[in-house]
């Protein structure tokens, strides 16, 4: 039997024992002075009391000092412990908790843990009750305590290795509280674990009812893992950045790292210092034609003892089907006369390459439309914008949406300036007649070839624009007035043409540059608006869908189809690693990946709870703590009462 303190830091409180001694000494040395006539009686009284008073003072001093000592010891959590194999002869209720966090997949740890758990159940005295539980609970778990040993062992064997981890302390408290109604008085929770740090908030978590058994078979387990993958499109290529970490004390040299994407594979040798990581970038050429909007791939390193974290999957999104809204402010029965005719034609041509979904709405329908479903919005000669719609449009742009505004005779400058002043690239003035040609200012947005053709555009009427601070003029007219201006607002973008999208104010819509310019907008949005497609286990995934979607299902890596509510559109069953497929209205919409949380890859063990360095800590023996704080608490209460009684008696 050994004595220990579970929170020895509080022993510093013992210094406070000097307080009553100091107070006692101070009280004997000073005090305020008073001239008094009857000092003779005081002297006589003191002489009589001197001995008794000294004894009384000493007793009170001792009691008070003892109270402080016991309080300090109480906070330091005194405990006695012993090493035992838990083979008490009394029947008890035993909860065997197997650590099934994915770090237990290291070597044979998980199987060893199950074997040790079986031994625990077998060695429990007759009349005992059992429950076998995983540390990382399964969804919808029900804890039941049974007396049947065989059934408990069967439950135990069915516990799967999880691909995540949990808050160990909360889970153990939950298991213990589930034992409350169990029949035997002696209740015990035994955790068979690898003592890996992750999942423990405190390294000093101890409970009288808890035993911890270290099952890890390696003194200092080492592990290497792919801990992150980032991928992105550029104009010519796809870049995949792989982060590989070395969680061991030795250097990983010439580690073969592979990145796979759409059937192509690139390999590289990397070196990683002990306890460090290396990031390697892999560049895949883009297939410019018939390129899928999304691509999935993986990054891996050679397998080690913990295989599950040696490969990481990823999905690269190029925004898939871009949702485009064209608002026609001046629709006509003859569509060729409509404001959006040329714009819609150009967008449809471009969408054949970009798989865009284009919807055309008139001004009135636009006011009722949910803008959040769109990636790109064109406003052509839109005359009526309500304050509510203006606020919605502002919020849409702030959250990352892109809006392209074409002017026209229905556009009222005062209304635009008042309602859209936060998002417009400048203040609109009155439309003026002119005879100008177009010149480019910001050439990096357009290709060289396009730039040469821009000069063919003539504009005979346009709004004047006083650029706002931070706005850029992309195209301007030969009279130096802006033709196309750009303004970044929040996470979104606003483009403003000072002229029309049809031919009423110029020939821009029928020049060879119109369609390529519109395609640039679609490309711009497509490149900048990549969707989140990569998650870790346990994440909630918000499904991208059109408001009209009536059914949504997600196919997990095991092939199971899981339906989710279209209204909610949130998928929570991300417990398996791998590629998940989203099916909207029965059609495959897109994919996303779920990977391990890299925290669990670091197999560093707990310091305090580890029994490796303790005497008598051979495998299988556990440190059993018995906390003594209750006795100290009663001691403090008793001392307080004694002090009060002594004070009352002596006064």
């Amino acid at each position: 039997m050994n004595f220990s303190f579970l929170s020895p830091i509080f022993l510093i409180g013992l210094i406070a024992v000097s307080l009553p001694v100091i107070a006692h000494l101070i009280s004997r040395k000073s005090g305020f002075q008073k001239r008094f006539p009857a000092v003779r009686f005081l002297l006589a009284s003191q002489g009589e009391m001197a001995t008794r008073s000294r004894l009384k003072d000493l007793i009170l001093l001792l009691l008070r000092a003892l109270i402080i000592v016991i309080i300090a010891l109480l906070f330091a959590k005194p405990a006695i412990f012993s090493f035992s194999r838990a083979d008490s002869s009394e029947p008890r209720t035993l909860a065997v908790v197997i650590d099934n966090s994915f770090s237990m997949g290291y070597g044979d740890n998980f199987n060893n843990a199950k074997e040790e758990a079986v031994r625990l159940i077998d060695s429990a005295p007759d009349g005992s009750f059992f429950t076998a539980l995983p540390l990382v609970p399964e969804r919808g778990e029900a804890i039941s305590v049974i007396q049947n040993r065989a059934s408990a062992k069967k439950d135990l064997k069915q516990i799967p290795l999880s691909q995540t981890f949990t808050d160990n302390e909360r889970r153990l408290e939950q298991v213990y509280s589930a034992l409350e109604k169990a029949p035997n008085q002696d209740k015990e929770v035994v955790l068979v674990t690898d003592f890996q740090k992750n999942g423990w908030k405190s390294e000093e978590f101890t409970r009288t009812w808890l035993r911890l058994i270290d099952i890890s078979d390696a003194e200092s387990p080492w592990n290497r893992a792919v801990t992150d993958v980032e991928s992105r499109y550029t104009k010519e290529s796809i870049k995949v950045k792989v982060k590989a970490s070395n969680f061991s004390a030795s250097e990983a040299s010439e580690l073969l790292t592979e990145a796979k994407l759409s059937g192509e594979e690139i390999k590289a040798y990397i070196d990683i210092a002990p306890g460090d990581f290396t990031t390697e970038e892999f560049i895949f050429p883009r297939a410019q034609k018939n390129e899928e909007p999304e691509a999935s791939g993986s990054a891996s390193i050679p397998e080690d003892e913990l295989r599950i974290d040696d490969t990481r999957r990823f999905v690269l999104s190029r925004s898939g089907a871009l949702n485009v809204l064209i608002v026609d402010g001046d629709p006509r029965e003859d569509s060729r006369l409509s404001e959006s005719y040329y714009l819609a034609s150009a967008a449809e041509t471009a969408s054949e390459l970009l798989r865009s979904r284009i919807r055309i709405k008139d001004n009135e329908s636009f006011l009722d439309e949910d803008l959040s479903a769109y990636d790109l919005i064109f406003l052509t000669n839109v005359g009526e914008i309500t304050p509510g719609k203006a606020a919605e449009l502002e919020e849409y742009i702030e959250r990352g949406g892109t809006t392209v505004i074409f002017s026209g005779d229905r556009v009222r400058a005062a209304s635009y300036n008042a309602l859209l002043k936060n998002i417009l690239p400048g203040e609109l003035g009155a439309p003026t007649q002119k005879d100008s040609t177009l010149i480019s200012v910001k050439t990096d947005m357009f290709s060289e070839e396009l730039f040469e053709k821009i000069g063919q555009t003539t504009v005979n009427r346009s709004f004047t624009l006083i650029p706002a601070q931070g706005a850029e003029t992309v195209l301007k007219l030969s009279d130096e007035t802006p033709f196309l201006s750009y303004f970044g607002y929040g996470e979104g973008n606003v483009f403003l043409f000072t002229s029309t999208a049809d031919t009423s104010w110029g020939n821009f819509a029928i020049t060879p540059v119109f369609a390529p310019v519109i395609k640039e907008f679609l490309d711009f949005e497509s490149l900048s608006n990549t969707k989140r497609r990569n998650y870790v286990v346990g994440d909630k995934v918000r499904i991208d869908r059109l408001p009209s979607a009536s059914s949504i299902a997600v196919k997990d890596p095991s092939g199971e189809n899981l339906k989710i509510e279209p209204e909610q559109a949130v998928f929570e069953d991300t417990e398996l690693t791998g590629i998940y497929k989203v099916l909207i209205d029965g059609d495959r919409a897109y994919e996303f990946s779920v990977n391990l949380d890299p925290l669990e890859s670091n197999l560093e063990k707990l310091d305090v709870l580890s029994i490796e360095s303790e005497p008598g800590s051979e495998l299988g023996l556990v440190k059993v703590f018995k906390e003594l704080w209750r006795y100290f608490l009663w001691g403090v209460i008793a001392l307080f009462i004694s002090e009060s009684v002594a004070r009352a008696l002596f006064s």
């Binding site: 004997r28 005090g31 008094f36 006539p37 000092v39 005081l42 003191q46 009589e48 009391m49 002596f650």
Partner: protein
């Protein structure tokens, strides 16, 4: 006349009271005190058989009618008396704040008593004493005699220890005939010295009244915490935990008061205990007759 020292209100309330000596005295003028000489007085004392030389007008003829023998009535004579007020002005008397200062209270008590005594026709003298000196005003009668007493009381400087023997001897030199001594003090002195003083007074056939004046702090010891007490008449000092010593101290003070009471009983002296925060009316009523 100073209203500060002389409590005129109390004096007015005590208008119908008289302060009499316990024993008969040899007075010089007529007054309220019993004279050693029998004489013509409204107060009947006893009958005596007629002897030769007795005044015929003192014969009770009604009694003669019933008993057929001659008796003469004897009446008490009432005379005036000298009072000596001995006021302790030692340093220990200067304790307490305004309103409860022992010396202030004692001065007021002495002045008011002197005023009442002069008003009932007695002569009053004053001796303010301490271990260092004593200042004596010889006894005088008449209402105007209050002025020098009040002046003297107003100019007292508290100093020195409480020492009674020497001033007492000086006073006895002045008050050779019948007199009543009124001692106003806290009597924080050696009990033996007080005993000897009382013995001396009684041996001189003087009536004695003791006004024992103590401050509430001295009787109740209402201090808190640890206090260093410095004696007001000597260099003695002591640090005490007031809470722990209170009980024993109060017991000691009560024993001291009881000892004084017993001493007064032994020497047939009147003992009046009073707190310095009380009204002077209370102790005066204790020695007054209606």
């Amino acid at each position: 006349m100073s209203n500060g020292i002389l409590d005129i209100d109390t004096a007015s309330r005590l208008k119908g009271f008289y302060f009499r000596t316990r024993s008969s005295v040899r007075g010089q003028k007529s007054g309220i005190h019993k004279s050693l000489y029998r004489g013509i007085s409204p107060d009947f004392m006893e009958y005596k058989e007629y002897n030769k030389g007795d005044e015929l007008k003192q014969v009770d003829w009604r009694l003669y009618g019933r008993h057929d023998r001659l008796y003469v009535k004897k009446y008490e004579d009432e005379v005036n008396l000298s009072w000596c007020i001995l006021l302790d002005k030692s340093a220990s008397m200067d304790y307490g704040d305004e309103g409860s200062n022992k010396l202030s209270f004692s001065k007021k008590l002495s002045a008011t008593l002197a005023y009442l005594l002069l008003r009932q026709g007695d002569s009053v003298g004053l001796s303010c004493y301490s271990g260092l000196d004593s200042e004596i005003i010889p006894p005088r009668s008449g209402n105007s005699s209050i002025m020098p007493i009040v002046d003297k009381l107003e100019n007292i400087t508290p100093e020195g220890e409480t020492a009674l023997r020497k001033p007492l001897l000086e006073a006895l030199e002045i008050y050779k005939s019948s007199a009543t001594f009124v001692l106003v003090s806290d009597f924080l002195m050696e009990p033996q010295e007080l005993r000897e003083s009382l013995q001396l007074l009684r041996a001189s056939k003087k009536d004695v009244t003791l006004f024992h004046v103590l401050h509430p702090d001295e009787t109740e010891f209402g201090f808190e915490g640890s206090v260093e007490f410095l004696d007001m008449e000597s260099d003695a000092k002591v640090i005490v935990d007031t809470a722990s010593i209170r009980h024993t101290y109060i017991k000691r003070v009560r024993e001291f008061i009881d000892e004084l009471k017993n001493m007064c009983h032994e020497f047939e002296c009147r003992y009046v205990f009073t707190r310095s925060d009380a009204s002077v009316e209370e102790p005066l009523i204790e020695i007054a007759d209606k």
